[in-house]
Every structure is written in structure tokens, then in C-alpha cells.
Subunit: 239 residues, 2 copies
């Protein structure tokens, strides 16, 4: 009996519903007894399932079938800024909290950001970095870039952007975002993202590039959002 | 020098642009000489980068920095059926082809499908299974379910659904889809998906559940779409 065969058996048992999300799988000792294998073989079989994202390990209590209870990030007509998250708390009861990590009133813009915002070389951007937490676990990291010509000197460049979030302040300044583009990819997390979002093994991230446009078509905000894919479902309603 | 340190050096070199997408990384032999390590250590260092999705191996020619040249799946107002893919060929030049794998005029519906389509127990569904290929590589697998009460006996239940695809036929039958919901998650592929889509190591899939609604709000089609995340970017325009 190889580790791969043990993994195959357990995988089939999870799919058929013998073990359902939240159930504990047999321990290494139980697998050793059942299959007559060495501990390393049993352990390797279990670790294969973990690398596929099918299980999670809780230290001291064992290996469990992973439950996917996603936060629904619903972008229908709503801005994806702090105010949306408040709405998500109400809707999902997931208890998301937002931690503003850093706000820079005037920063140099990376070339890709300048291009997306239609800025010239040397133009500055206001940068907001936020972390969203579900209970105490970080689940989403967002960096927003706005033309400093619009945002600097307004509450957008302050830590507390005020009621309604960045988009309400853009509206106050006559640049209300009315159209959004989201480009979504999935990939494995970088080492830094694994640490920052405390991502489980076998779990990708969703990386969303969001551009907000004012009524005249001017891009007013570019956001890079990285979401722990073990925690989120993105919902789009399209007319 | 450990495998992890070698991986860290190479990762940093990829990020800084010393090696750009498509470049060949140093061979095992070159790493052995540079770092004074055994072949297994060099090999393990390279395999760590592969598991992170940063590199691809081309047998006989070495390890290369992975290039991400995604097909843009643009859902703006367009149905995600065969006709869209034709549009994507024109737009992206990616040369997608569609292979209809199976069409079942009347099948039992899984409970989740019945619920999503508002069907009663015992109601049948028409099922269409399609594989999309980029050049010769499978990149997307889609299963669509439609109420057999609408689709059976129409070209939707035939292999060749005709010009305009499923949605044109739904319109012909007075059930034109006018609103769509897409729920997007990312996860590691199953063993079967890895084989079917020939997915590279360290690559997740995007799994999209798409529901199409007619003007009266009736769901007329449910599609499960699995996309190789190494090949796609999903684009949503939101008003």
C-alpha cells in the first residue's frame, strides 16, 4: 500500500460523503493499523490531501475535511471599498473588519498604475493599504491608488476617510465612480502572501485588479485586491 | 546551502526581472556548481518554484520562468456559450476551439442543479458538455444544464446547436436569457481536472457557476465552468 493509494481511498471517501466537511479523518495510527503501513507512509498520504486543499490540520486534534464557507463578495453596483465591507458584514454575518494599514498622500506611481490611471511620468498617487479580517484571520489585502491631483488634501489621504468610504469622497469632489472593471485571476500565493493572509496549504489566491471610472470615462481609482481563495466567492450579476 | 535558500535566490531573481517570463533558469548542474550542493538539493530547489507556479519544465530543454499570457474571458453582456468563444477567438486571437463532448437530451438532474433551476423532483434536464482548447491544450471544461421541458426536442439537445449557440435557441423558444449571475471561486484542481485540462503543477482552477435568467426571472440555464487558471483572466464590467 502506497501513500498515493491511501490518499486515493480517503479522497474517494470525502467525495462520496463518508467524511463531510468538518469531520475528522483517521489518525496516522489508525491508518497504520488499517493499511499495515509505516507511519511515514500514512503521514505522506494525509499530506497529499492537504496539498490538494481537501483537508486542514488542527495541531493537537488531527486532520479534518476542509469546510468551504465562503464570504460572498457581491460587487453588484456597489463599490469594493470599506463601505461595501460594512454591507458584507450585514449580509453574510461573516464579521469582517477592516484595518487600514497605511495611507500615503503623495507617492510615486509604479508604471503600470500610471498607465491604468492615465497619468504622466512624475504624477503622484495617493495610496491606501487595507487588510480585511474575518474573525481574527486576515482574508483580503487591498492597495488602492488614486491620482493625488484628486485625492491629496481630501479625507481620501487621511486614515479615516469618513462615512461612505473613498467613493463617497470621490463623489464629494465631483468624481463619483459610476463604472467599474474587474480583472480576475487565480494563482498560488507568494511566500509573503502566505504569511500575511495566513493561507492554508493547497490554497490559491484570487487577484482582482479593479478600475473605477467617473462618468466622463476618466479612471479615478485602481485597486489591487488579493483574496484568500479559501475564504471567498466572487459574485457578479450581469444584465 | 539548502534547497529553500536556492529557491529563495531564484525567486528573488525572477521578481527583480533578472529572469523574465520565458527565460531558462540555471540547470541542476549549474546550480550544483554555483552553490556547491548535491544534485538532489538543486533539484528540490527548482521543484519548489514549480510548486509555486513560478516555473514550467519542458522535458529535455530545462526549467523556464512561466509566462502568463491569459485568454481574456469577457462576460460583458455576452453569453458564455459557444458563440462567445467565437467572439473570443476574434478578440484575443488565442485560437480557441470548442469540442462538444456529449449532449444528453433528457437526464436526471443532481439536486443542486434542480434547486438552481427551480425544478421539481423527477424533472429532467438537457445536459451539454464542452471542452475548449487553446491550440491543442484543453483549457476550459463546461457543463450546462437546461430544463428538458424547454430544451428537449430543440437543437439545444443536438450536438450542433446552430448559429448563435444555445442562447439564440433559447431566444427562438421565447426564453431569451437577459440576466446572468456568475459565482467565482478558485481552488486546487482535482486529479481528474489535472488530467483532463493537463494542468501544470502549482496551478489552481477557476470554477464559475453561471446562471442565466429569462426576462420573467426564470432560470433557464445553469453552467459549471472549470478554467485552467494558468490560461485565463475573467473580465467583468460593472455599471
Amino acid at each position: 500500500m502506497t501513500a498515493a493509494s491511501i490518499a486515493k481511498d480517503l479522497r474517494a471517501a470525502i467525495r462520496s460523503g463518508t467524511y463531510t466537511p468538518g469531520d475528522r479523518l483517521p489518525s496516522e495510527a489508525a491508518l497504520m493499523a488499517t493499511y499495515g503501513v509505516a507511519r511515514m507512509t500514512a503521514r505522506h498520504g494525509l499530506s497529499m490531501l492537504k496539498d490538494e486543499g481537501l483537508t486542514v490540520t488542527r495541531h493537537g486534534s488531527g486532520v479534518f475535511v476542509r469546510a468551504f464557507e465562503p464570504i460572498i463578495r457581491d460587487t453588484t453596483g456597489a463599490p469594493a471599498d470599506d463601505s461595501t465591507v460594512t454591507a458584507e458584514i450585514d449580509e453574510t454575518g461573516a464579521g469582517l473588519t477592516v484595518r487600514t494599514l497605511a495611507v500615503t498622500a503623495e507617492a510615486d506611481a509604479p508604471e503600470k498604475v500610471r498607465t491604468a490611471l492615465g497619468l504622466a511620468e512624475g504624477d503622484k498617487v495617493t495610496v491606501r493599504e487595507r487588510l480585511h479580517l474575518r474573525e481574527r484571520k486576515p482574508v483580503l489585502f487591498a492597495t488602492s491608488y488614486l491620482p493625488a491631483s484628486i485625492a491629496a488634501g481630501t479625507p481620501i489621504a487621511e486614515r479615516d476617510v469618513g462615512q461612505g468610504g473613498t467613493h463617497a469622497r470621490l463623489a464629494d469632489a465631483g468624481h463619483a465612480p459610476v463604472r467599474f472593471r474587474e480583472d480576475v485571476v487565480a494563482r498560488m500565493p507568494s511566500i509573503e502572501e502566505i504569511e500575511e493572509l495566513r493561507i492554508e496549504p493547497g490554497t490559491p489566491v484570487l487577484a482582482v485588479t479593479r478600475t473605477a471610472f467617473a462618468a466622463d470615462g476618466t479612471p479615478v481609482e485602481l485597486s489591487h485586491v488579493v483574496l484568500d481563495a479559501g475564504e471567498f466567492m466572487l459574485r457578479y450579476d450581469i444584465d
